[in-house]
């Protein structure tokens, strides 16, 4: 229990925890003290001098800065006297002295603390009759942020955010005295992945959003509390819209999830929502051409065709691919359609059945946020295995950095690439794709002390940290647990946790925005909603009762199997684009009797479809999403395009089910959400109203245990001859700024996109006679890719790094559906 002290603020006694700052104590007492520099999430600096109040001290009454002064027992504070008022007035006069007062053209106008405080505490006039100081206006400090130095009041919030949270001091004060300005180093734009938060923090219009510039006036927008779907952290955001268009996204506080921070992709990359390329009407292939048709025609066509195929080839000739990018409701309706209407378990999603996941995700994000905020941390050591939060989960990256810097959390990193977080002290364990299990085994042995891990000091250090730790958390991602080797990796990590002792936990995190929800909804070939095995009698009975049908007990095909198999006759693809992933898959999609693609935008897969159905995105229809710590959160409808005939996924499949003779009871999305809470026991009670605007976590105890897989064959080791031909091991993975459609349609961010490059270690580059910028061909025995070479020591020797979804360079051409490949790189 924190000690409390009692003080008097404006003749009123208040008791607050010791060491509380006066400004916060006043807030607790319901007294507002105006501030600019002070911010509850940033360290006090005391530079704006707006918060001066009268404090009685041993040497009489003094004006003290309440944002830097901790409370003291018996302190007497007054914030409402004539003197305080006059000082506030004078200080605002100073702050506004050289302010350009260009509020009419300032994006901040209408929601500007400087405006508000001027109205409440200001003088109303300026006594300056000399010319104002000039500085740089509207110049870009990055592709997404515009700085206006004349509006800046030098509160240091942006500087402190980048320093204290991002640990990337890319903004600083330059010059001195009256000429002091906030600026970047020449030629070094801000590139921190969550830099946009400084726009939210700025108390004036100095930092504005370049993507949303001049696109809104604060008093004209509708604000919808929502969540971000770019990754599985599930940051809380607010969608600001006007005239059916999404104008801006800002962060929304949720102390269980994202604090109040969001990443730049989540904030800025929303150009796709209102893009004119959006699918707006159903398309049916007629005479080889996709032709716009009515919904009724499209649905009748699909129903007739699907029924025919089912009759001719059986239900298991039909499959469906769901998506971690679409809502629980959409995924639930899709799998109910497949299981209840078609009658097959051929339902999966990318990173679904092919990945050896664990059912419950992270214990809680708050456990990683806790160390930075206070006592009783639940995690003291984090092992990241095959996850790169900086690129994949940027706000988790932020939490981790803060936990390391402020909470003393120790970090161990095992990754095929020397990821950005390796800049923190802690062992880095390198491996090549396919060698995960060897690394885990040696680590486990080192922890158990059964083997000498001579020579590898990093492994020794990691083992030491794990053994010492009392509350370690091992986090692994899909990259480390795909394919046949996946279950071995999962088992290995569980054994490692066991060896490290009680208190060590293993968590799997998916990457897509609704990766967890997708699993929870049973978009898996071997799992029913609630992640129950197909043969779980109770779950089966419950669903059969609920759906009024009989469920197939035979496991379906996984994502990869459906695409590899030659037996599939019909495929429903929702929010996925397998054609871009593998040339073989692209070819086999052509052979299907029926390909139905439901998506937001045209894709390579949609081009091959017989029917393309336009879906509504997360901003356009109500839906729930489950983040990586099992928090079910609402994303209400925020915008609607009156010209579009797109429909939400659940509605499409409800109509399709009706066309095929099933009578589903769904009248609106709430009724789908409601049924989910019955179908998935862990979601019991989590209906729309109960979720509120901060979401609710489902209890981890409600999850069935993961199947325990025996030790199966490890990843296919490369043969010696192969090694000579293909000397490099291909490393791939997700980067934040790829060329995926959800990012690429925000044109302001084009400069930030990862180039079409293969990155090599300097030593390898020298061996193959390649320099940064050389045009090269990357060749595997599956295919080849023409890209530009880059050289970086962060890429380990013997590997070649090509991220997924690069512009014009699908790494799938090399992988062709496999998970590991060896490649060679040659100059073109």
């Amino acid at each position: 229990m924190a000690e409390h002290v009692t003080l008097t603020i404006n003749e009123k006694e208040v008791s607050v925890p010791a060491r509380t700052l006066l400004v916060d104590a006043a807030r607790l007492a319901g007294v507002e003290i105006p501030v600019f520099c002070s911010h509850p999430k940033l360290d006090p600096v005391g530079c704006c001098r707006m918060c001066l109040v009268e404090v009685d001290g041993p040497r009489g009454t003094a004006m003290m800065a309440s944002c830097t002064m901790p409370v003291g027992d018996g302190m007497v504070v007054r914030t409402d006297t004539e003197q305080v008022r006059k000082v506030q007035e004078a200080n605002l006069g100073f702050i506004l002295l050289n302010h350009p007062l260009d509020c009419p053209i300032c994006d901040k106008g209408g929601e500007c603390p400087l405006q508000d405080q001027t109205m409440r505490f200001g003088q109303g006039i300026s006594q300056l009759i000399e010319p104002k100081r000039l500085a740089k206006k509207h110049y870009d400090i990055s592709d997404t942020i515009v700085l206006d130095q004349e509006r800046c009041v030098l509160c240091w919030r942006c500087i402190r955010y980048l320093e204290e949270w991002e640990d990337k001091p890319q903004l600083g004060l330059f010059e001195r005295g009256n000429d002091t300005i906030v600026d970047i180093q020449e030629g070094r734009p801000v590139d921190a992945k969550t830099s946009g938060n400084i726009i939210d923090l700025c108390p004036v219009g100095a930092l504005t959003n370049r993507v949303s510039r001049f696109a809104y006036r604060p008093w004209e927008i509708e604000r919808t509390p929502s969540i971000c779907m770019h990754c599985s952290v599930g940051c809380n955001v607010r969608l600001d819209s006007r005239t059916h268009q999404l104008r801006r996204i800002v962060g929304r506080e949720n102390m269980q999830v994202n604090d109040q921070w969001i990443c730049d992709k989540g904030r800025f990359a929303h150009g796709w929502v209102n893009d004119e390329k959006r699918l707006a009407a159903p398309l049916l292939r007629k005479n080889g051409k996709l032709t716009q048709v009515q919904w009724s025609e499209a649905l009748a066509y699909i129903a007739g065709k699907a029924a025919g195929i089912k009759e001719k080839y059986g239900a298991d000739a039909i499959g469906a691919i769901g998506s971690g990018k679409i809502s629980n409701e959409g995924n639930y309706a899709l799998q109910r359609f497949m299981r209840g209407v078609i009658g097959t378990n051929n339902i999966d999603h990318r990173d679904g059945g092919d990945v050896a996941a664990l059912p419950t995700g992270l214990p809680a994000l708050a456990e990683l946020m806790k160390p930075q905020y206070g006592p009783d941390p639940q995690v003291d050591t984090v092992l990241l295995f095959g996850v790169d939060p900086s690129e994949e989960l940027p706000v988790l990256d932020l939490h981790l950095k803060r936990a390391i810097l402020r909470g003393g959390v120790k970090l161990i990193i095992a990754h095929a690439r020397k990821i950005e977080l390796t800049r923190y002290e802690g062992p880095y364990l390198a491996y090549k794709p396919g060698e995960e299990t060897q690394l885990i085994d040696s680590l486990t042995q080192a922890v158990q002390g059964t083997a000498e891990t001579e020579g590898d000091s990093a492994a020794r250090a990691a083992a030491g940290l794990l053994s010492e730790s009392e509350k370690a958390l091992i986090i692994y991602g899909p990259m480390a647990a795909r394919g046949e080797g996946g279950p071995v990796v999962r088992l290995g990590l569980e054994q490692l946790a066991q060896a490290a002792g009680e208190g060590t936990r293993v968590a799997y995190v998916g990457l897509d925005g609704n990766a967890q929800g997708c699993r929870d909804m049973g978009v898996l070939p071997d799992r029913l909603p609630g992640q129950f095995p197909l043969d779980d009698a109770e779950a089966k009975a419950r669903l059969e009762r609920l759906w009024g049908c009989t469920l197939s007990g035979s496991p379906g095909y996984t994502y990869k199997q459906m695409l590899d198999s030659q037996e599939m006759r019909a495929l429903f693809v929702n929010g996925a684009n397998p054609a871009a992933e593998s040339p073989d898959w692209a070819a086999s999609l052509d052979d299907l009797d029926l390909l139905v693609v439901t998506d937001l935008l045209p894709t390579e897969t949609a081009e091959k479809a017989d029917v393309v159905l336009p879906a509504q995105g997360w901003a356009e229809s109500d839906g729930t999403y489950t983040n990586l710590e099992r928090r079910v959160q609402r994303a209400p409808k925020a915008v609607a395009d009156p010209k579009s005939r797109a429909a939400p996924d659940w509605m499409i499949f409800t109509h399709l089910a009706r066309q095929m003779g099933a009578a589903w009871p769904f009248t609106d999305v709430r009724s789908v959400t409601e049924e989910m809470t019955w179908a998935v026991p862990a979601y019991a009670g989590l209906n729309w109203e109960a979720l509120g605007d901060q979401g609710r976590q489902w209890a981890a105890e409600a999850a069935p245990a993961p199947e325990s897989t025996g030790r199966a064959a490890a990843g296919v080791p490369a043969g010696a001859s192969e090694e000579a031909d293909y000397p490099l091991s291909l490393v791939t993975g997700t980067v934040l700024y790829d060329s995926g459609t959800l990012f690429g349609l925000t044109e302001q961010m084009h400069g930030m996109a990862h180039g079409a490059t293969v990155t090599l270690n300097p030593a390898d580059a020298a061996t193959f006679g390649v320099e940064a910028g050389s045009p090269v061909t990357v060749q595997s025995d599956q295919g080849q890719l023409e890209v530009t070479a880059a050289v970086d020591a962060q890429v380990q020797q013997g590997t070649a790094w090509i991220p997924e979804s690069l512009p014009g360079a699908p790494v799938g051409a090399l992988l062709n559906g496999s998970y590991t490949q060896r490649v060679r790189v040659e100059r073109r």
Binding site: C48, M63, E130, A135, G172, E175, G177, N178, Q185
Partner: protein, 658 residues
């Protein structure tokens, strides 16, 4: 670009600082870069950031803060003329004008051949030998003081010496009278005097006074040797407390009491010697470091013994290059004799002394700002508490003491507490070096006991008014920040209590005499120009208020003053003093406040005589409402470069040059 050779030099510099604190070496490392390139190019800044493991913006921010680090090339010889009040009173503006005429360029410019660049500069610690300029030799990074540049001929002579290549034949200060043959010959220490015998300034004029041999011959280091052997640290702290030495930097805080604040357990402890003498009107520490550096080093050894510190830093202002060289030499001598380093005087104790050059920032004289600067950041002040004695340099207990304070320690330990207390008063014991400048006949340094009457200092030692026909009308008793005293207060004894009673403060004992030829409006304007220039920019009132006051004063000087300006200035000053982050706020307006109070008539007359109809300034239509964002901001040097407006700046008008 940082070459291999530069890299080696930088690595050596960084190695002087504790492991993991290499960032502290950022200023000396930037000096290396500047010496090679003539300025600090952005790519070299970025490379340095890489070496230090910090972000490029952090280096850029530091370069922008310090006056002596340049973002664009200066000349082969960079001439900076002091125009601050003490120099102004003795013709600093005319001196600048003479340089402009001689070189054929305006200040802020560079000669076509790139040989000379000319700038104005704030107080350079040469107030007794005004007017003066410093010259930086870009190729070597050396700086030399050129003093007593009274006439155009003196300035021409100085430029000739530089042109002939003899400008840096010595680093000791140059005066026209000491260099008849234009060979760049050195002049010795400037005028010192006072009581007999003197202690702090006893040795300055002896031949080779800066050498360890002469210092030891005069009994130097015996006190340190004896004290380390015989006196326990705690006892020594008690003795210093007993002696009542008060800080000579400005605040006058009792040195021994400060030492007593150190938390007993935490180690390491650091000693930081504040040699960033920058208060206009103060030039005492400079001469000690130049001509008697061992006196300071012995003081450091003694002080570190008392506070049980094994690492001391001397933070010396960047312009004091000669003093820096002398200290470096002296430290090497002391190290050679085993007086600093390991096992000093065979006592088993260690003491490492790091000499650290600042880079031109008045604010770094404030102790917390100095520590921030020493850690390698912009010299911005920190929150107190924690006080440095508890959490200072690198968040460790740190004592920051002024050079003269430390020298006093040497003499207290040598002669005893009772001897010391026999001088001065009960609460202001000991002797003091008074820095006398401005309109007196013999400006210089005078060592006198505390409580010597101001009039005695000015008349008996200083020789009275510079011109008998022009009596002194105001005196600043303790450095430019302090409030003015008027003739009725000239008998005030110069001790802390009496000066405070007279409504001012003794401060750094920089006594500036102002005679009736000088406009008090000009004094006020020049004072505010200084504070506007030197404000660190951290907090609102000081950053905005000082510049606003300067603008108003400039306007009054130019004949566009309004009657209400006086109240407005008082209003602004009231809202800076006591409202800012650090004491700089008070310091910046005390002078103006007392000036407005005591010489209000002069301001009123100036306004009434130049602007009888109270016509306000013509506001220019914003010349460039949206400046081209791709161009560099033109807002750097300021007083002399018009800031956006078309008002005629005072500085282009030189007295007698209508």
């Amino acid at each position: 670009m940082i070459t291999e050779q530069m890299r080696q030099e930088i690595d050596e510099i960084l190695a002087r600082y504790p492991a993991g604190r290499e960032r502290s070496g950022i200023l000396p490392a930037l000096y290396v870069i500047q010496r090679e390139h003539g300025y600090c190019p952005v790519d070299a800044q970025d490379e340095l950031a890489e070496i230090l493991g910090i972000a490029p913006a952090e280096v850029g921010a530091v370069v922008g803060f310090y006056n002596m680090l340049h973002e664009e090339p200066k000349g082969e010889y960079h001439i900076e003329v002091c125009t601050n009040v003490p120099c102004m009173l003795r013709g600093g503006n005319r001196c600048l004008h003479n340089f402009e005429t001689t070189l054929g360029i305006h200040h802020g410019e560079r000669t076509e051949d790139g040989q000379f660049a000319l700038d104005h500069m704030e107080c350079l610690g040469s107030c007794g030998t005004a007017p003066m300029a410093i010259v930086t030799d870009q190729k070597s990074g050396q700086i030399r003081y050129f003093e007593n540049l009274k006439s155009a001929a003196d300035v021409e002579k100085a430029v000739d010496v530089l042109k002939s290549g003899n400008g840096f034949s010595s680093l000791e200060r140059w005066t026209p009278e000491a260099d008849p043959d234009n060979k760049g010959a050195a002049d010795g220490p400037y005028l010192t005097g006072g009581m007999e015998p003197r202690y702090l300034m006893d040795r300055l004029n002896k031949p080779d006074s800066h050498k360890i041999a002469t210092y030891e011959a005069d009994g130097g280091y015996a006190t340190a040797r004896r004290t380390l052997e015989e006196i326990e640290p705690a006892d020594m702290v008690d003795q210093i407390k007993e002696s009542g030495i008060r800080g000579r930097g400005g605040a006058g805080f009792p040195t021994g009491v400060k030492w007593g604040f150190l938390p007993p357990e935490t180690r390491p402890r650091y000693m930081v010697v504040n040699a960033d003498e920058s208060e206009p009107g103060t030039f005492k520490d400079r001469i000690i470091m130049e001509y008697d550096p061992h006196q300071l080093i012995e003081g450091i050894i003694l002080s570190c013994h008392a506070i049980e510190s094994e690492k001391a830093f001397i933070y010396i202002r960047g312009e004091y290059y000669f003093a820096y060289m002398r200290l470096e030499e002296a430290l090497a001598e002391a190290a050679a004799r085993g007086y600093v380093g390991e096992n000093i005087f065979g006592s088993g104790k260690n003491l490492d002394i790091v000499l650290h050059r600042g880079a031109g920032a008045y604010e770094c004289g404030e102790e917390t700002a100095q520590l921030t600067s020493l850690e390698g950041y912009r010299g911005e002040p920190r929150l107190k508490p924690p006080f440095p004695a508890v959490e200072g340099l690198y968040a460790k207990p740190t004592i920051v003491n002024n050079v003269e304070s430390i020298c006093n320690v040497t003499h207290v330990m040598r002669h005893g507490v009772d001897w010391y207390k026999a001088y001065g008063t009960e609460r202001s014991p000991g002797m003091r070096i008074f820095c006398l400048s401005g309109n007196v006949k013999r400006p210089g340094l005078y060592e006198l006991p505390h409580a010597t009457p101001l009039s005695e200092l000015v008349n008996r030692y200083g020789g009275g008014p510079e011109d008998e026909n022009h009596p002194i009308k105001a005196i600043v008793p303790g450095g430019l920040s302090m409030k003015l005293l008027t003739p009725d207060q000239f008998d005030t004894p110069l001790d802390y209590e009496s000066v405070a009673e007279a409504g001012s403060l003794l401060g750094s004992a920089g006594v500036i005499a102002i005679d009736d030829r000088t406009s008090m409006v000009e004094v006020a304007r020049r004072t505010l120009s200084f504070y506007r220039e030197e404000s660190c920019g951290k907090c609102t009132p000081c950053r905005e208020g000082t510049a606003w006051l300067e603008k108003i004063l400039l306007r009054i000087e130019e004949g566009q003053g309004l009657g209400k300006d006086l109240e407005l200035m008082e209003y602004i000053a009231d809202n800076i003093a006591g409202k800012s982050f650090c004491p700089f706020g008070e310091a910046s307006v005390w002078g103006l406040q007392s000036n407005l109070l005591k010489f209000r008539g002069e301001f009123a007359t100036q306004i009434e005589s130049t602007n009888p109809d109270e016509i306000g300034p013509v506001l220019p239509i914003r010349p460039d409402y949206r400046p081209n964002t791709h161009e560099e901001s033109g807002l750097r040097d300021s007083t002399f470069a018009p800031v956006g407006g078309n008002i005629v700046l005072h500085d282009d008008l030189v007295p007698g040059d209508d």
